[in-house]
């Protein structure tokens, strides 16, 4: 049975998707390689470029919006250590980072007699281009949790800020056993578009943190976020943000999909507002991705999954659906037209859903079963544009000039 699909929220129709708006490039990172999908002006037909790095585990593939040419890919293989690959010609050729992210050989933040054990980067999980005024800066988040920065466009990387070896942060990060099934992640690295020194990051687990001094220091930003029952909300250790996004049209607004609900934060307030309670009880407010509208900070999308009992991490009841809000999270509308109506047991990981900046906004997600879906009308209608890919870890929608 097709679930309710109210159309009270209409797509952002301005100039329709035309050649003047540029063409969309989808960057699809999977458990066994990466693919680039080049859209035509109407976003109707997609030219496949790939696989790149067949057999490599690609956690994230990101286009630098500052030059429109440089791609960074966070890679590892089953046998080899992690690295970063870099292309300056949209994937026609690749070279490896000269110095990939790696932790310090010994703890630099520990006091005498309390040396923390050295850690090893298992994989780089998240890549974020720096502020537009810092064209060669990139940030990377790793598993286990670490924050790294490159000042040369992704060629060489170094541990960044105090947190990697700060005893307090190391305690909040917990051990490998405290994280997600394939390792704890540092993710959702956000650079304020107005101020390169204003940063956010999130750790699963370990909470959301903010820096106002260019990463010299971070502090937790957790007020009013829930944790699993019985644990101390004041301790960042027990917080599990799944994905945090800043609204480009209002950089004072953040949305967050958390292990324990959906939240919104309007700065300068430090109190997160729980906005997920109006989702249907049978669907729930647990999921991984969070997507924000490029021009309207009232609009955002989530992809709920089954977070009950043993945490199946599938679509609730096998019926996948996007939920959209057009009023900052006061109400949510189910958006499932075109999606399977039953027996679809996949879900969408935290980096695997994104929006393009066209009008109306195009939405894209990749599934854990290797399907790539899109909507040209902000979620009102969905169609599958690729099947039979490996498990999809990340989907980024970029606009080519």
């Amino acid at each position: 049975m097709m679930a309710e699909n109210t159309n009270t929220q209409h797509a952002d129709h301005g100039a329709a998707g035309t050649a003047e708006q540029g063409q969309v490039l989808l960057l699809v990172a999977t458990r066994k390689g990466a693919w680039l999908y080049h859209g035509d002006a109407a976003r109707e037909n997609w030219r496949i470029d790939g696989p790149h790095f067949l057999g490599h585990i690609i956690s994230h593939l990101v286009l630098d919006p500052r030059d429109g040419q440089t791609l960074l890919a966070a890679a590892k293989t089953g046998h080899l250590g992690p690295t970063i690959f870099r292309s300056t010609d949209l994937g026609r050729s690749w070279s490896e980072a000269k110095r990939p992210p790696a932790f310090a050989a010994r703890s630099e933040g520990a006091t005498a007699g309390s040396a923390l054990p050295g850690r090893t980067v298992d994989h780089t999980f998240w890549l974020t281009p720096g502020n537009a005024r810092q064209p060669d800066v990139w940030y990377a988040g790793t598993s286990p949790q670490g924050l790294f920065r490159s000042d040369d466009g992704g060629v060489s990387w170094a541990p960044f800020s105090c947190i990697n070896d700060d005893p307090q942060y190391r305690q909040w990060m917990g051990s490998v056993q405290d994280g997600t099934p394939d390792g704890p992640k540092l993710h959702s690295i956000i650079v304020d578009p107005r101020n390169a020194d204003h940063l956010y990051l999130a750790m699963s687990g370990g909470g959301v943190h903010e820096s106002s001094d260019g990463g010299e220091s971070f502090k937790p930003l957790l007020d009013q976020l829930d944790v699993v029952g019985g644990f101390d909300r004041a301790d960042p250790t027990f917080h599990d943000p799944h994905c945090v996004r800043l609204c480009p049209s209002n950089p004072d607004r953040l949305y967050q999909q958390n292990h324990c609900g959906i939240y919104r934060l309007d700065r300068p307030s430090e109190q997160w507002l729980n906005i997920g309670k109006s989702l249907p009880a049978e669907v729930g407010d647990v999921g991984f991705p969070m997507v924000v509208h490029p021009r309207n900070a009232e609009t955002a999308w989530v992809f709920p999954m089954d977070g009950t009992s043993v945490w199946p991490r599938t679509s609730p009841d096998g019926k996948p659906a996007v939920y959209a809000t057009g009023d900052g999270g006061q109400s949510w509308q189910r958006r499932d037209a075109g999606l399977p109506t039953s027996q679809a047991w996949w879900t969408v990981k935290r980096q695997a859903m994104s929006a393009d900046p066209l009008q109306p906004v195009g939405l894209y997600f990749g599934t854990t079963s290797g399907e790539l879906w899109m909507s040209r009308d902000e979620g009102l209608h969905w169609q599958c544009i690729a099947r039979h890919l490996p498990e999809i870890y990340a989907v980024e929608a970029a606009l080519l000039a």
Binding site: T83, G118, T120
Partner: protein
Amino acid sequence: MKVLIPSALRSYTTQGEVEASGATLASVLADLDRRYPGIRFRMIDEQQQIRAHIRFFYASKQLRDLAQPLDANGELIIVQALSGG
């Protein structure tokens, strides 16, 4: 000495058999990295530990210590061990 390179690392060497010199496993790997930049970090992590799915064999014995002395006339075999599907 002769070094046999597993398929996962031939993107660096382009061939399965290369030459490298050094009196210990550590120094042979350092020489390999000079010839093929980046190859060492894929095998040895930042805490100077051999990565989980990399094995080194020399004279039919597995090497577990980077300080292990090697003879220039020997043959170092690098193996990619089972790592799942």
